[in-house]
């Protein structure tokens, strides 16, 4: 049984796969439903005053999905990634792996399986949101949805790499997850800085909405920076983990 098989067993037996798919599929269903029925829900709730709600549209359905799913999804991804990548938090388990394999051999399957599962969960939610939107409201732009999904997938991979980097700096699982989330929040705020913002990884998150709404594809700078940041964070985490004493 090699380390790839161990990681597949980890995501199945710790129910990680169900948690991630559950979150994204739930919001994949909720997004189109809220886009279609929100005016009725508000009316039946008897909210006082007049609320100006946008009319239901495929773009709104997909936007609702991505906006809601990523908030909870990234939190879940960060904690799940930290529980696999911050393996020094349990020194005895760390000794088992460290005395039998190199850090690269230990980390590679963990990165790939966690990031791959998270991206697959996001894609499955996107497909469900797309199908439901088509059935209830109208068909979203398929190519724009595909491009937007690719941007979010890159962002998810970066989130896993950042949590990995934090795991090499701090050996606590919650600590690594929260530091990773904190870094993503700071990057999100920094997106508002003129000139710099469009180059930051967080700019990719807004790209999904913009593309589905018919916007131009101007994300090459953020894509490049995200890929470089992902590679750098992964490389740094391997170096730092190798230097750490347990």
């Amino acid at each position: 049984m090699n380390l790839w098989r161990v990681e597949w067993l980890r995501i199945w037996r710790t129910r990680t796969v169900w948690i991630l798919f559950g979150i994204f599929i739930f919001f994949g269903i909720l997004g189109p439903l809220t886009a279609q029925f929100l005016p009725e829900i508000v009316e039946r709730a008897g909210v006082a005053g007049e609320i100006d709600l946008p009319p239901p549209s495929p773009e709104l359905a997909m936007s609702q999905y991505v906006g809601n799913a990523l908030q909870i999804g990234v939190l879940a991804i960060a904690f799940i990634a930290a529980s696999a990548l911050a393996f020094d938090s349990k020194p005895e388990i760390s000794v088992f792996y460290r005395t039998r394999a190199t850090i690269t051999e230990i980390l590679t399957p963990r990165y790939v399986v966690i990031a791959g599962t998270a991206v697959a969960a996001f894609i499955s939610g996107t497909v469900i949101a797309f199908v439901l939107s088509t059935a209830l409201i109208g068909t979203p732009d398929a190519l724009a949805t595909l491009k937007g999904s690719a941007l979010i997938a890159l962002y998810i991979v970066l989130a896993v790499a950042l949590v990995g980097l934090m795991s090499s700096l701090i050996s606590s699982v919650p600590g690594a997850a929260l530091l990773g989330i904190g870094t993503l929040i700071i990057l999100g705020i920094a997106t508002m800085v003129p000139y710099v913002g469009p180059w930051l990884p967080s700019y990719l998150v807004g790209g999904f909405d913009m593309l589905v709404a018919g916007g131009e594809f101007d994300y090459w700078g953020a894509i490049l920076v995200t890929m470089i940041a992902t590679a750098a964070a992964t490389w740094a985490s391997i170096i730092l983990m190798e230097r750490r004493e347990v």
């Binding site: 049984m1 388990i93 088992f96 039998r100 004493e245 347990v246």
Partner: protein, 294 residues
Amino acid sequence: MSTNAVEATTITKRYGNIVALDAVTLSVPKGSVYGLVGPNGAGKTTLLGILAGLRSPTGGTFSIASSRVSVLPDTPRFEPWLTARETVQVSATLADVPNSPAAVSDILERTGLTDAADRKVSGFSRGMLQRLGIAAAVVSRPDLLLLDEPAAALDPQGRREVLDLVADLRGESTVVFSSHILDDVQEVCDEIAILTRGSLVYQGTLDGLMRDVAHGYTYRIEIRGDTGPAARVLRACNWVTQIEVEDSVVFVSADSTVELESELVPLLADVGVPVVSIGPIEQSLEDVFLDVTR
């Protein structure tokens, strides 16, 4: 080609101002069972961690003439969602040794885990985790096996099985075995090193420890009546290093057993001392250990 599996020269490890290991120099012969003995906090785990490559020494050098090193921490833990069989399989796969179902079952049987082989590790007791740790370490067929307090958490039966397992590995692997249970060390180790407060205070065989460090040999002589004449005649002998008198008993110490065995009885007979009993006092390993680590 070196006959030693481990050669460490002036290994030092500092954590800030704390000296965990202070210029420790030791040699572990290939194929031996080597005991690393010392009180809690002596530096045993730190030394094993350095030999395992898990920690870097602050100073000194060491070499390991082994391609495959296995380590068992004092409180082993494993992925709780793997079964015992899977854990052993992972260990064997990572060590790149054959891990056929029969080989894995065999090692699980040797460590008394056959009944729990397909149970998830999350429900294992500390003793079972210790056995699983030994199974996972042994299955990789290590040239050098580093065991940190392997029997500390086990019940008497488990302890016996572990000691037998360690004894079986003699010649097959070099075993460095840290413990503060002196009976275990006495039973399975060919050579020992005693660490105290980060310093190596003895290295060699157990016989050598008893001979060289136990401050010579002492005989106990019980006398009927006055002990004065016996004490006086013994004090006059240049080979006697120490005399103690308690009631009707005289304790006489010497650097070697030669004079005690050949001269003591004739000497007492010459002065007509009525001797009730006479014989050597066996110093226990514990006495010597406490003496050395004090």
